[in-house]
Symmetry: C2
């Protein structure tokens, strides 16, 4: 259903009239490789790219991931045209191919939110400064990151305005006007919005001064209901990560030190990137009564008593796009899970003589038509500007899951060649797939499912081979030093946790929901511990 809504866009959207290759790529054919003059604090360092004029080949298109993960990441974003740097330091322009991935995320989550009883709405982004100060730990957490509007319509404002970094305060201000009795509860809303946090170290998608997200906000009559809601939403995020993006996140609870400013409990999904750093990919907070007490958000219960509501908030942002890039990409470039890929199948027609061109293009068009009608997001690259080989490399770099090749011999045998992006070279190439519509559609759909699962399995085995179970601080340090995640029993103090961070650079990512049974001994203190925690360096 979601796919069908997005379908009309898929040929017209990304390359409206004809395939137009990114100017950046075309420039590279003639010019020395150039990176954007970066407004980002963590600008890419120079790479070993040749300064001479060189012809673009896909293996030159992006710095190999194995060589320099950060340079690779920035190259992929530029070459695949996912995003560009905005004129203000730390801001990002999300380009059509990157935005289409965000739209796929939106389409899925939006349906899930509505199915679970949430309504979309919209709150103003300007928040009176005094609101931020009302909840003590909230102001402490957010005040260093605020952007302030001080002038409006040519006049200095009496009260400066905060450009929303998150909306708990303004949401509570409104909730006090809408919630009066237990009959008004639960109140469950969501908004898709931009937010601003004045970050010092920025990186496209991962941490930008302005980003896009959804933020859910709910109010409940009991703490049990709020807890159930917070858990439900992290569960929705977890399923989304696994099933749609093939990212095997680990869901769990944040330590007190890492809990959201203003929450009682923060649940998180943590993903392992290709460089084995952790990415917090989504969070769900049980806010308890912290904001309702600060703002006086009360209701009359069934016995006529005034009570403060119990609340949650939860969010996923454009950061997730960065997580997808850094989980699945390889030396060649992007690798997109089929379910969120803007283009699932690219068709590359191949001909040498003009006499072959007509029949090849005609066959390619009908294959496109067949797949499109079956709900597959398909792109026919029929431009004459580039060779077939160049196109292979280009669409591999763009991470398209399946490529279909059609040449004159395929036309005469009524067959096509199908290549998988996730299996390089000949191993991923199957010849002689029939063009007969039902056969072809079934084959392609099966392969898309296989790729989706295969990416997940690969990511799971990468994750699991990079988590080390540790039972002492020495073991923890060794694991972190080797670039891995450390998992071990933990019941030590906040200051011990702080010490680990200072000495190793790793933080507690979460106490995972999945715990082993049996008695445990804290790796730091030797005291009894109820849970294992996962430590890792993170973005």
């Amino acid at each position: 259903m979601v796919a069908s809504l997005r379908l009309p866009s898929l040929t017209s959207l990304l390359f409206p009239a004809t395939t137009r290759y990114p100017a950046a790529l075309r420039r590279r054919v003639l010019c020395p490789r150039n990176r954007p003059a970066s407004g980002f604090a963590t600008a890419p360092s120079g790479t070993a790219a040749s300064p001479e004029v060189h012809r673009l080949r896909s293996d030159q298109a992006v710095t190999p991931r194995s060589q320099d993960f950060n340079a690779w990441y920035l190259d992929v974003i530029a070459s695949a045209e996912l995003a560009d740097y905005g004129p203000v330091r730390g801001t990002m322009v999300i380009r059509p191919y990157g935005y289409a991935i965000w739209e796929a995320i939106q389409d899925y989550l939006n349906v899930k939110f509505k199915e679970t009883g949430h309504s979309n709405m919209y709150f103003p982004q300007f928040i009176p400064y005094s609101f931020i100060e009302k909840e003590a730990s909230h102001v402490e957490g957010f005040s260093p990151e605020l952007a302030l509007v001080t002038v409006g319509g040519g006049h200095e404002l009496e009260e400066k305005l905060v450009v929303r970094p998150t909306s708990e305060t303004i949401v509570n201000h409104m909730f006090t006007q809408w919630i009066h009795s237990y009959r008004d509860l639960p109140l469950m809303i969501n908004q898709w919005a931009n937010v601003t946090r004045w970050e010092m170290r920025t990186k496209p998608f991962i941490r930008t001064l302005e980003f896009l997200w959804q933020e859910g906000h709910t109010a409940h009559a009991t703490p049990e209901e709020a807890e159930k809601e917070a858990k439900q939403m992290i569960e929705i995020y977890t399923r989304f990560a696994y099933e749609q993006t093939s990212i095997p996140v680990i869901a769990g609870r944040k330590s007190k030190l890492e809990t959201f400013a203003g929450a009682d409990t923060t649940y998180t999904i943590e993903a392992m990137m290709g460089d084995r750093k952790a990415l917090q990919a989504g969070t769900s907070h049980n806010l308890g009564q912290n904001f309702s007490r600060a703002f006086g958000t009360q209701f009359q219960d069934e016995n006529g008593e005034r009570q403060h509501v119990w609340q949650t908030s939860w969010a996923v942002s454009t950061r997730f796009v960065g997580g997808i890039i850094m989980t699945h990409g390889d030396d060649t470039g992007l690798m997109l899970p089929p379910k969120i890929a803007p283009i699932q199948v690219v068709i590359v027609p191949i001909w040498k003589k003009d006499t072959e061109k007509t029949e090849v293009l005609s066959a390619a068009s009908s294959v496109k038509e067949v797949l499109q009608t079956a709900g597959v997001r398909v792109k026919l690259d029929d431009t004459t500007e580039r060779t077939a080989g160049w196109k292979f490399n280009f669409w591999e770099m763009k991470g398209v899951p399946i490529r279909i090749e059609i040449g004159p011999r395929d036309v005469s045998s009524n067959c096509v060649v199908v290549s998988r992006r996730d299996i390089p070279g000949k191993a991923g190439k199957v010849f002689g797939i029939s063009m007969e519509p039902s056969t072809l559609v079934a084959y392609v759909k099966e392969k898309l499912d296989e790729i989706q699962s295969s990416l997940l399995e690969k990511a799971i085995s990468f994750r699991d081979s990079n988590i080390v179970d540790v039972n002492s601080y020495e073991e923890l340090k060794a694991a972190i030093a080797s670039g891995k995640w450390a998992r071990g029993p933990w019941s030590a103090s906040d200051s011990d946790e702080q010490r680990v961070k200072e000495e190793t650079g790793a933080t507690i990512r979460c106490f995972p929901f999945e715990q082993t049974l049996g008695s445990k001994t804290c790796l730091m203190t030797g005291n009894p511990a109820e849970e294992v925690a996962i430590f890792a360096k993170s973005y």
Copy 2:
């Protein structure tokens, strides 16, 4: 397709668990009518509402439109829970029922934009102040309305940042990096975003400090293409207005004085509200080379020459929701065209004895199921908190196009009663419609179509009976003084146009595309005129 995507939300979305009536309405049952302490400059004046405790009846729910249009408008927005006032003066919270109308607008336009080759993307909202100053008439038009960020992360910024009032400047800054050759053109993008304009006189939906919109931006190789695009987009808006919202807008060209700051030509759709004031409901600008010259947005043409691109921009905003309210609403409240109504059909079950309850509710549930499966957005109001009569009034006030009543006698005869929102009282009520699924679905769909057309016809005849053809300034003044629109030949000067505005309060809304043939004489100067213009007071 659009409807099917939005379907999952429609029972869960607006009233997740059970029907919960707005707190504001419930309060009114016990309290004297109260209006929100308005942060809006055009706050409603007091009305004749009784200060005593009174029981809500629908005719008391909102100030009758015929009595006080402005008070009615604000009452409808509050009672139907479309929006609320934000804490910062002139800002608005869009509540779920209002936001669902905006989502319907988005769903339709988003598909049309993609079908016509536009891609969605996202630009940062913070624009360096220096950008705004680059295009002379643009800075003149927008500088009085800017909100400025001067502090970020606790530090005074070196260059103050504009919170985007519109994005032509930042779009051109980026276009210069993406456009190099004629092969990069046309470049056609759109973004859904919030924008900020520091307006002094605000009104919910119509003019707010922050609002939501889509803004399309395109670049072309020739002026002809840009002109064609600008016209195409105003045509898409026009069809949208007529076919989806039943608003018979008049499309045309703005006068030079009313042209967008930075455009060569502005096309507009102008709608007549219920108080006969005009509402500019969407605009499409041919920007010529104004921004490309200011920003140096150039391409190499097929002959190798450097040329500035030709551009357009076009937008529709949440203001359209205000236009829908003010076009179709009546004394009773909101009246929504079926195609954009969040709820198209409400089912009200009626019973007296407990023995009747089960069978009535069971019949009501299956009717709901049948309609939902057929793609109708349907709500079953099965709460016991209110009487059926109260529910009738409530859902009429909310503007739901069709009400289905089911009582014990209907159950035994396997029939339902269908009432149309747009035909008050008995005249709009039809008894004995069979519950047999295919019959019922066909009947309901036919009625929804009829209502959609009927609202349009009513609005057309209202519009046409309130436009006066004038041939002299005296006639123009008389028409405007009587509250109508004046249409007459015009070829006078900008200062004459300014004089009309000062003396009558009316502006040229547009030179409509539909012109009568034959020679014309300017109503002001007696000189030959090529076109008629439409004058009206406006929002």
